[in-house]
Symmetry: C2
Subunit: 246 residues, 2 copies
């Protein structure tokens, strides 16, 4: 199956103050759609865990041409662009089903980690995955290296609590994204929308740990910011967020 | 339509550290299912807003016989038990679709608030709603008055941020529930499960406000706790949570 699609409808209960899909919800849906495709081709969580390995999202880049607004039907298409021993690259396209127009894209990089040794497994062994490769490229820039934030201009601390912890006893992806978004005031999102978002996951935080999220303008830009969440001076997630004035 | 049903599947990405549905997710699904029924009978958000009124959840009680576990299909049935000028009462039953067994129930009380005057609207005007009444009663105790917590034994403060704000610019229901759950350590949920949860919504908190969540054993009980989230000494949500040892 070289293309997998999932349809959804954005309800009023799911949207943010700007009547749009929150970034953390978009990331969750992207991961859910990837999981759906992996299950459909026989390389899902359950099958992988029987080999003692688990999928880990390493990098994600999202480009948003138009915001996803309330009371609309959407479709997410996903496909595997390629894979090598270490990484697989998976792309996504979001289509507004009322107009048929693609309005957002995402590129993701995944590893399969051996749960005991914590080392990457050889992905070229997964023949079902190789057979599903669809070479269609990502239409934007895939995103480069993200470096730790040095001269932070905004800083928040937060201790991870019960509601932040997932089935693997790590902090959820949703919480990392919300900590990033929460670096700004609500006026920032009233006046600007997110047009590009890049994130690299570096280290898994756990229950009870005290996190520090810092951000700074990227190379002095008023519209692009570097953000990092760290625990005990170890970066957990490093991100870059691009705003565009409404 | 005197009974409305919605089916869902609980994925690994949605569950908590105990591989069960988080309480905040259950509450969100209950509200979504109520919204689905309201839309289906023509008294949904869009129709109500055209009259300048909006649904407000006032009280919710949940009884959980068995926890909702990962990788299972569930169904939520909902129906309107009755209504008067001020309130409508809506019940829910959660059915494990693999066994056909009902495993949880919920009772909710809703008001319709005039958005300008902030006063309750007369629900008996909604003839579609009266025609949809299904008198089937709630099988547990509906839940009594919840009083503000006086002698708190646990206290956390939290400032509401961008990711906590909904389409009406109020704090989301999900955030209130998570603040309550986060009063305890992860070990509390490893050793106990929630078997009953009651909450009353008293006041809408807003972006940037500093909240204080406090809890205390209910009448000295080791298994039942009273919890309250307040802003500027005004209670926003008052809850009671019943744990049962696993």
């Amino acid at each position: 199956m070289k293309l997998f699609s999932h349809e959804f409808y954005l309800t009023a209960a799911e949207v943010n103050a700007q009547r749009e899909m929150p970034l953390s919800r978009l990331v969750t849906l992207i991961i859910d759609t990837a999981t759906g495709h992996a299950n459909a081709i026989g390389i899902g969580f359950d099958r992988m865990i029987s080999y003692g390995i688990s999928w880990v999202l390493s990098r994600l880049t999202i480009d948003i041409k138009r915001p996803l607004t309330v009371n609309r039907a959407y479709r997410i298409d996903t496909w595997i662009e390629n894979l090598n021993r270490m990484f697989s690259e998976r792309n996504f396209e979001l289509v507004d089903m009322e107009t048929g127009e693609p309005i957002a894209w995402a590129h993701s990089t995944w590893m399969a980690i051996n749960m005991e040794t914590r080392r990457p497994s050889d992905l070229t062994m997964l023949t079902e995955m190789k057979d599903s490769i669809n070479g269609r490229p990502y239409p934007y820039i895939k995103g480069g290296k993200l470096l730790p934030v040095i001269d932070a201009t905004v800083e928040h601390t937060y201790r991870f609590a019960v509601s932040d912890i997932d089935v693997n006893r790590h902090v959820t992806t949703r919480r990392y994204i919300d900590l990033i978004v929460d670096q700004w005031s609500i006026e920032q999102f009233d006046n600007n929308r997110v047009t590009r978002f890049e994130i690299a996951f570096k280290h898994e935080a756990r229950y009870g740990e005290l996190s520090r999220t810092v951000s700074a303008p990227h190379e002095g830009s008023p519209e692009v910011f570097d953000v990092m969440t760290e625990v005990n001076s170890t970066p957990c997630a490093i991100a870059r967020i691009h705003f565009t004035q409404r």
